[in-house]
């Protein structure tokens, strides 16, 4: 514990403070967006978007290294792929629901494959695993600013449109009858989730970002009265898991992203087990 606190206070180690701040800022996105993703049951959509991101990163690295588009930022490539994936999935989900599963899996696989192919042809060594599993200690001040801006956007949108979000999440058809443009709500959710995934993958990586969008919210769902309390509880859980993962990762020299997800998964499974035992106890009595 003391070595971690010493590192936090050490002026020559700003990356540790950045990592801590990133953990806190990410928690808001994991908590709020995670709640929406969980109650709308679009985790598989978010999973496909997060994996398609690798295609954009690979493309950016290739264009940059081959001087076709020098200094093309990987984050821009990732956002382009994420938003395109979100739009395709959104259209298919609304217009051809029966094909949704196939398209989700296709985008998931094609996005990753494009990324691997681009990286294979990129001059020099490019390790996909650094993107797949993330590295919180590499987070820059710009990343922090972007995370903070997206946090503010998400909080303001939820504050402004909570009743519409709640109605369309609970019963999309009824919300439509009440005049809510549910298609627009759905596209906004997918687009913001796509952009958030790009920013959040720096923290826990592409593979694990989906776990953090579902596990804290899933844990909070066991005891939340409504979507608002679920958002608040899952933000607190996400912050605790992030800080726990950061501390243990630092202390035991382990990958932080993986530690965060292990904590989140352990707590979720414990809640599930206790919930199942309570249910069984209730039935028995």
């Amino acid at each position: 514990m003391s070595s971690f606190i010493a590192a936090l206070l050490n002026p020559s180690m700003p990356f540790v403070r950045n990592a801590l701040l990133a953990g806190v800022l990410s928690s808001i996105l994991f908590g709020v967006l995670g709640t929406v993703v969980t109650v709308k049951r679009i985790a598989s959509l978010a999973g496909a978007i997060s994996h398609a991101v690798l295609g954009g990163i690979g493309m950016a690295l290739y264009l940059s290294a081959s001087n076709i588009a020098p200094s093309f930022p990987p984050m821009v490539g990732a956002i382009i792929f994420a938003v395109i994936a979100a739009l395709i999935i959104g259209v298919v989900s609304m217009r051809a629901k029966q094909r949704e599963d196939t398209v989700i899996n296709a985008i998931w696989a094609i996005g990753m494959s494009i990324g691997v192919l681009f990286m294979a042809k990129t001059a020099g060594y490019t390790d996909p695993s650094s993107y797949l599993f993330g590295n919180i200690l590499l987070i820059s001040s710009t990343d922090l600013i972007l995370l903070a801006v997206l946090d503010v956007i998400v909080i303001v949108l939820v504050w402004l449109f909570y009743p519409q979000l709640e109605a369309s999440s609970f019963d999309d058809e009824y919300a439509q009858v009440r005049g809510i443009a549910t298609d627009v709500v759905f596209f906004i959710i997918l687009t913001i989730t796509a952009i958030a995934i790009v920013l959040l993958q720096t923290f826990v990586g592409i593979v694990m970002v989906i776990a953090m969008l579902t596990l804290p919210a899933g844990t909070a769902n066991f005891h939340s009265r409504n979507m608002l309390t679920m958002m608040i509880s899952s933000t607190i859980y996400a912050a605790l898991f992030s800080l726990g993962g950061l501390f243990s990762g630092w202390s035991f020299d382990l990958p932080v992203g993986a530690m965060v997800v292990v904590f989140a998964g352990f707590v979720f499974l414990t809640f599930s087990l206790v919930g199942a035992m309570k249910k069984r106890g209730g039935k028995a009595s």
């Binding site: 109650v39 049951r41 504050w159 402004l160 449109f161 909570y162 009743p163 519409q164 709640e166 109605a167 999440s169 609970f170 019963d171 058809e173 009824y174 919300a175 439509q176 009858v177 009440r178 005049g179 809510i180 443009a181 769902n221 939340s224 009265r225 409504n226 979507m227 309390t229 679920m230």
Partner: protein, 262 residues
């Protein structure tokens, strides 16, 4: 009894999904304050007809007039109770919050005292005030359906559309539902869908049936049937009062006095 003005009119409506033709030459009209039963076998197109009234889908041919305009523009005057009541069983929401959804509008962020009053009234009419703070997920199937009716009523609708509200409903909930609908009769136009084609509630003024195939033999048409008091209906049906649908009768769609549309 003099009928109110016509509020809903289907004029030779056809509707097809990409995979199947559903309705053909559907013509019907509903007067303000009427209690209409829409019957027909499963999969005949009853829910499709409701979706057309709600403006969720558009006719392939023909036109629909609702309150003098298109269904899409008039649907805020309608309270809708969908067929399914089993949403995500883990969705965190209280009964009161579900009922309050009836007051939601595209850009309103908060609920006013008038909204609160409408929600309280709807909870009272459906006799579920004691359930208001309970999680929706903790309710039985029958209780959930009554909550969804309360949600529709909280919108203070001029027309109430219920899609098979008694499916999987216990006798007590069904009795309470029809007691509440009886209180609305005359003031609110009610359109209730049921897959039980034999009996309808005694509150019913007219019965429409989505049944026989039209001239193309691919899509069904809508006909109006006569009814008579039922002597052989199960007592638990519709709170104990039922009418028998005479499927061998067919009334002219324009059989009742046509009055000026609203």
């Amino acid at each position: 009894m003099a009928k109110g003005p016509i509020i809903l009119e289907f004029d030779k409506v056809d509707f097809s999904y990409p995979q199947a033709d559903v309705l053909e030459h559907a013509s019907l009209h509903v007067h303000q304050g009427e209690f209409i039963a829409l019957v027909g076998p499963n999969g005949a197109g009853k829910s499709t007809l409701l979706k057309l009234i709600l403006g969720l889908i558009q006719p392939t041919k023909g036109s629909i007039d609702l309150y003098g305009t298109t269904p899409k523009l008039a649907r805020d005057r309608i309270g809708y109770v969908p067929q399914h009541a089993d949403y995500d069983s883990n969705f965190p929401i209280s009964v009161e919050e579900v009922v309050r959804m009836g007051r939601v509008s595209p850009f309103k962020r908060t609920y006013s005292a008038i909204d609160k009053e409408a929600v309280d009234k709807a909870l009272k009419v459906m006799e579920i005030e004691d359930l208001a703070k309970r999680p929706y997920r903790a309710l039985s199937g029958g209780q959930r359906r009554r909550v969804l009716v309360a949600r529709a009523l909280s919108a203070s609708p001029e027309m109430l559309i219920l899609d098979e509200p008694t499916a999987n409903m216990d006798a007590d909930s069904e009795k309470r539902l029809f007691k509440a609908l009886g209180q609305l009769k005359g003031n609110t136009t009610v359109l209730i869908v049921t897959h039980d084609s034999t009996f309808v509630s005694s509150l019913t003024d007219r019965v429409f049936c989505v049944g026989d195939f039209g001239p193309s033999q691919k899509a069904r048409r809508v006909v109006q049937h006569n009814t008579k008091p039922a002597t052989d209906a199960p007592v638990e049906l519709f709170g104990g009062q039922a009418l028998k649908v005479l499927h061998d009768s067919e009334l002219d769609p324009a059989c009742c006095e046509q009055e000026e549309s609203v």
